[in-house]
Amino acid sequence: MISNLPQDFSPILVQFLLALGFVIFTIIITHVLGPRLKSKQKEDPFECGIESEGDARTPLSVRYFLIAILFVLFDVEIIFMYPWAVNFKSLGWFGFIEMLTFVAFLMAGFYYIVKKGVLDWERD
């Protein structure tokens, strides 16, 4: 029996308050407990390794973003494949054909961007 009175949503509120409380608690407690040492080196974004140089807002090649987007494609594919794999037996041939259709559409898109030259780093 699904009941959906306002009080049935109270666990969500409790969870929200808990999450908020945890964040506030951590922020305050690190300020109170943590030892403080301030120096120029400490303020650097990276304390060790190569010294940082220039501005963070230099233009990057768009290819990095394209690769990132390409990753999302496979990420989404995997997300759909896990539940399918778990229910593989009960879904049977119907599930298999549905999955094939899904992968076919996905691969069509993948083939398209490869042909467009997304993985081609040398081009112009």
Binding site: P6, G109, K115
Partner: protein
């Protein structure tokens, strides 16, 4: 249901056609694909049914809307000339995105489940964000696309939040399944109703969710502005109608006042805002806000008639808008300033002397948008006023009539400019396909103005 499958597959095919040696093939192929989709739409004629686990409802009404959407897309794409004039164009991608966006629009007019509505709105919107920025090197286009995307993403978030509230209150995403209204959960239902309305009214550019409209309409390439103002509006209003007339019909006492206020605001902001616009596209953007107000009027009345009125209004609005933007496209490409096409109102100066055919098309489109008798626009307004009158909301109607009087002023600005003696243009070339489309839209506007029952009797 078949056009969804057909358009998804042909959309992919169109993408790959872009790799072929012969670039000219993409345009005729896309039109052929759209015609195939139109043909497949009628497979389900007189065979109503439910698809995808009862998430889509197909009946003759939805098929009529599919046909309207696909035909509008064909008419608009006819002006593209294969995007040969576009710099850095990717015609195959534009045509593919148009086909994919139609899938979204089709889902919006035939959903039975809020998940499908959300999916449809998203497919259509994402395609629109991309097409708005289609002219990659135009800084105004980029600005418009970014603005549209950010605002649209927030509107979608609000819509989704409303759906979640609706689900919390009713325990179902299905619309029209005898939702229990009242009791303790009605509070959540109110929130859900309000937020879903906000999300959808943003998409149809009703005030006060209209702020993106002028900038986006101006920045986007004209052909996609035409697409945006016709397809998105038609699909959006059908979706609004479906939600309000089924699930939320029991809440009418709650939402009618919101809609009435929105109608008044849209009409005032749209019509008064349009008066001082110099850019023709901004003028059309404000006019589209005011037309959103007129179409919302239909929702205030009796739901038996409302869908017919919305259908009629969206058809006449679509025909007139395609004519107006089409004339702008044909004329503006003759006058390039600073590397961009010139799109101010005074572009039309002396058009009647220069090219009588284009001037006639423009004048009839403007008359129809203003709602002058013997054009379709008059009957469109008449039907929505009659709907609103049936529920006795006379203050809204008086407001609407006053505002359509203001509308005549700014719709006549391009008309009067086109009548003036001085011409600023060389001779204008129209290709035969554009001429054919102008003939269809103008003829349609006049036929619907004289025999409105041709279309009304469909419902």
């Amino acid at each position: 249901m078949y056009p969804i499958i057909s358009l998804s597959v042909t959309g992919l095919l169109t993408l790959f056609l872009g790799f072929s040696e012969n670039k000219k093939i993409v345009f005729p192929a896309s039109i052929a694909f759209l015609l195939i989709a139109l043909a497949t739409a009628f497979i389900d004629w007189n065979a109503p049914g439910f698809y995808f686990n009862d998430m889509l409802q197909v009946n003759n009404t939805s098929i009529v809307f599919w046909a309207i959407l696909i035909i509008s897309a064909i008419l608009i794409m006819g002006f593209s000339e294969g995007f040969e004039r576009f710099e850095f164009a990717q015609p195959a991608e534009y045509f593919a995105i148009v086909q994919f966006s139609l899938v979204g629009a089709i889902m919006m007019v035939s959903f039975k489940n809020l998940i499908m509505l959300f999916l449809g709105i998203e497919i259509l919107s994402v395609a629109m964000y991309v097409l708005t920025g289609a002219d990659k090197r135009n800084i105004r286009g980029n600005e418009a696309a970014l603005k549209y995307f950010l605002m649209g993403a927030f509107a979608t978030g609000i819509l989704l939040f409303g759906m979640a509230m609706f689900y919390g209150a009713t325990g179902t995403f299905n619309i029209g399944s005898g939702v229990f209204i009242g009791g303790d959960n009605s509070f959540f239902l109110w929130i859900g109703c309000t937020f879903m309305l906000i999300g959808m009214l943003f998409k149809v550019a009703a005030a006060p969710f209209h702020l993106w409209t002028p900038d986006v309409y101006e920045g986007a390439p004209t052909i996609f502005t035409a697409y945006m103002s016709t397809i998105v509006k038609t699909a959006g209003f059908v979706a609004l109608f479906k939600v309000l007339s089924t699930t939320f019909s029991g809440l009418q006492d709650f939402w009618w006042i919101m809609i009435a206020v929105l109608v008044t605001l849209s009409l005032m902001i749209g019509n008064i805002g349009a008066v001082s616009q110099n850019s023709f596209k901004r003028l059309m953007a404000y006019s589209s806000i005011s037309h959103a107000g007129f179409m919302l009027l239909a929702l205030l009345g009796d739901h038996e008639n409302a869908l017919g009125s919305i259908m009629f209004y969206s058809v006449v609005y679509t025909l007139a808008t395609i004519s107006a933007f089409g004339v702008l496209m044909v004329v503006s490409k003759e006058r390039i300033e600073k590397g961009r096409v010139y799109e101010q109102n005074d572009l039309f100066k002396g058009l009647a002397q220069n090219n009588g055919f284009l001037a006639t098309v423009l004048i009839i489109a403007m008359l129809s948008l203003a709602g002058i008798p013997l054009t379709g626009g008059f009957w469109g307004k008449f039907f929505v006023f009659r709907d609103a009158a049936s529920s006795g909301l006379f203050w809204v109607i008086i407001m609407a009539v006053l505002m359509s009087a203001i509308a005549i002023y700014y719709y006549f600005k391009p008309v009067l400019l086109s009548m003036s003696k001085k011409t600023s243009l060389e001779s204008i070339t129209i290709n035969p396909l554009a001429k054919f489309i102008f003939a269809i839209t103008t003829f349609g506007t006049i036929v619907l103005g004289i025999f409105p029952w041709i279309l009304r009797s469909l419902f």
